[in-house]
Assembly symmetry: C2
């Protein structure tokens, strides 16, 4: 643990304990109660629309006077239409299927001794945003829907917007059966550092921000962190690729939203298709405003800039693409293993053997065939909402829906059963599966 | 991160990379290949039985001359019968159902665009044992069965035993289609510290040892750790308990194996049943050699020693039991929330309302009704083998079988599908569930 992270203040500990108590009560409430609470939150946000937009205006003015970067200002901005869309998003969360109380396992261990495993809320989420006041509404809705309390810390730039949103959310909860203290807003940097040390009170930390933020948090807390690190995604154009299809997929993967973590950073091209494919790709990417950086073979085919070794491990998040010509599928796999971030990697090919090999051997959260890496997203996967994208190896991995906010509990019901009887051989386990 | 943990040596990095390469190849092998490899490991262990027992003898002599504690010597000892049992255990692992390649999700996102989620190996496990050479065989077998490589570090006291076992395991793998370098033994303390910094090469660390070992590891690595911290388990004897049943369950929960993490440390007794139950319990526990420590009310009913506040949060791992008389079910739940470790907690009652409330409200990996907490165990749950017991909140939680050694990957197969078509509204997602 870094010594630069201070211990939580008594005040923070007390507030976090209050959130935990409310969350424990919330975890016992019915699907209908949690659904209604989320809808009440949406209603209250709607009623507070003017004050939220006004608070955001003040944040925006402060940002302008401080010369905040344009991209941050865009994320900070919460005007009427954006707020309406966010409120619609909250209502959609109410419609998602209940993730709680799902029986995952059901086994008779012996006559009268029955085991079940049931999904339950995690408890309390700690959420740290950079700017993005709309994310506060989304995560708060997901937390309440799944029976969890939440401590939320927005960016300093968005402090007035977040406060106005939180007031509305708690007003909404007050009109429901869920305690308003299930949600709590943290405001200072000290509090957000203290949050990292709330082991036992907070069960999961969700950072929504830059790679640097995620890394800092991972290095400074013992609490599990749901967060992606880098998104260094690849598209491999195999010898047996349909060149038109591959070009269409490559363009979409790079340019449809280059700042996204699921955009590709490197295009790998099989050497037998490179002489025809690379020149076509150069034309198409240049027309789309993408700067290309190639290895020697790619430069020999017309790519203007040289790629250094650093390029292969850089997440540009911009209209820049590295191109490398590789000898074969195995060389492509080796490149991905070495430089990739195990996020999402794709192959374009009509060769079923190459496709199967790639889909089996790429050790990433997503392995794709003949489609854009941009599909790596909770909404597109049909999860209805996205808690985040995880690049860790352990589940939850890849785009995470509500299932990232639940865990499970084993329940065992007996009739006086004791372990000694099985140790002695007086009784034997049946381990008979029962219907779920 | 603590600065006391040194960076891994170049030699360790190289060996870990070799394990990772072998593990990636192993992850591609068939169920039959992995099964055969585990059986070949068992055969090789059988052939090496004499040399393993001899190596263990040398370890035991060294332990005796160093005055090792009796409990540690018992764990270190690997004689013929114990080794035969361990080899049987390895063969049983070969018989477990394949945890790899299980399709968990199958959705048509749109015509010709199909998503699936399939279980895959984690990659490489880092396993750190204290003493217990038999655990090396068990974990190595589980690793290979589930398609994972492993770096294993046994206790210093068991160094000769572990080396002999690893030689046999690798001999076995050499006779199979799995590369022997999928398993690697670490021998020095420096190597085991270096292991904690092998992010990117090691996917999960499994500590098998004391709470202090687990905590040290959790505090000093960025790699996920599968391990339990404390096991402070409770049994609550409700007003509506059958006293004979409750006493039988209480005795088993405490005495069947007091050193286990799933043994109870505290007995909570409802005040209306306490006047009859506690005196009975005192007789039975004293006959079983259990020292009782009570609160004032329990002492007034005959418990000889006073429990201090520390007692409620102590894992005795011994024949000591704290007894507290509580006003009601809610007071019992509050005590468990405050002092418990969220491992396994039980209630004895014939009141279905009290039972339901307890099973819903106890926020532990296991919530039990009318049975012993000692059932919290992977074998008893029917998992066939146990990787460990996890007291973390996130899955895997509680007793963890082979599923703790796998993760999943999303595979998306398209026909040139791009995200822009869905953003523009030209195409719409169908999100149609397909059969698993």
């Amino acid at each position: 643990m870094s010594t630069s992270v201070p211990d939580p203040s008594p005040d923070l500990l007390q507030r976090a304990a209050a959130v935990r108590r409310s969350a424990m009560a919330l975890g016992q409430q019915s699907d209908a109660d949690r659904r209604s609470a989320v809808l009440a939150m949406a209603d209250a946000l709607e009623a507070a629309q003017e004050s939220i937009v006004a608070a955001n205006q003040t944040d925006l003015q402060a940002a302008a006077s401080e010369g905040l970067a344009e991209a941050l200002v865009a994320r900070l901005k919460l005007d009427g239409p954006k707020l309406t869309a966010a409120i619609d998003g909250v209502r959609q969360v109410a419609q998602l299927a209940d993730p709680i109380g799902v029986r995952q396992l059901h086994t008779e261990l012996d006559t009268g001794l029955v085991l079940e495993r049931v999904s339950v809320p995690l408890g309390v989420l700690g959420v740290i945003f950079e700017a993005r006041p709309d994310a506060v509404m989304q995560i708060a809705a997901l937390a309440i829907r799944s029976g969890n309390g939440a401590l939320l810390k927005g960016g300093r730039e968005a402090s007035r917007s977040c406060a106005a949103i939180m007031t509305a959310l708690q007003t909404g909860l007050a009109a429901s059966t869920v305690e308003p203290t299930a949600l709590e807003l943290l405001t200072s940097r000290e509090e957000s550092l203290g949050l990292l040390k709330l082991d036992g009170l907070v069960d999961l930390i969700i950072p929504r921000g830059s790679n640097a933020l995620v890394r800092f948090i991972q290095d400074n807390t013992r609490i599990p962190v749901l967060g992606h690190a880098d998104g260094i995604c690849h598209l491999f154009v195999d010898a047996a690729a349909d060149p038109d299809l591959a070009l269409r997929v490559a363009l979409d993967s790079k340019t449809q939203y280059p700042a996204a973590c699921n955009a590709i950073e490197t295009l790998l091209v099989h050497r037998t298709i490179a002489p025809t494919f690379v020149p076509q790709a150069i034309l198409a990417f240049e027309a789309a405003g993408v700067e290309l950086r190639g290895d020697q073979a790619a430069m020999a085919l017309g790519v203007g800039h040289a790629a250094s070794d650093d390029d292969w491990s850089t997440e540009y998040s911009d209209l820049i693409l590295a191109i490398r010509v590789v000898d074969d599928l195995e060389a492509a796999l080796e490149h991905i293993r070495r430089y990739g971030s195990r996020h999402t990697d794709a192959i374009c090919t009509n060769d079923p053997i190459a496709a199967d090999r790639f889909l089996a051997a790429v050790d990433s959260a997503g392995a794709y065939l003949n489609c854009s890496t941009r599909f790596a997203d909770g909404f597109r996967y049909g999860f209805g909402a996205e808690v985040g994208i995880s690049t860790q190896t352990l589940p939850p991995r890849g785009p995470v829906g509500l299932e990232g906010l639940v865990t499970y509990r084993y329940r065992l019901r007996g009739q006086g059963h004791i372990a000694a009887d099985y140790a002695s051989g007086a009784r034997r386990f049946s381990h008979r599966p029962l219907p779920l």
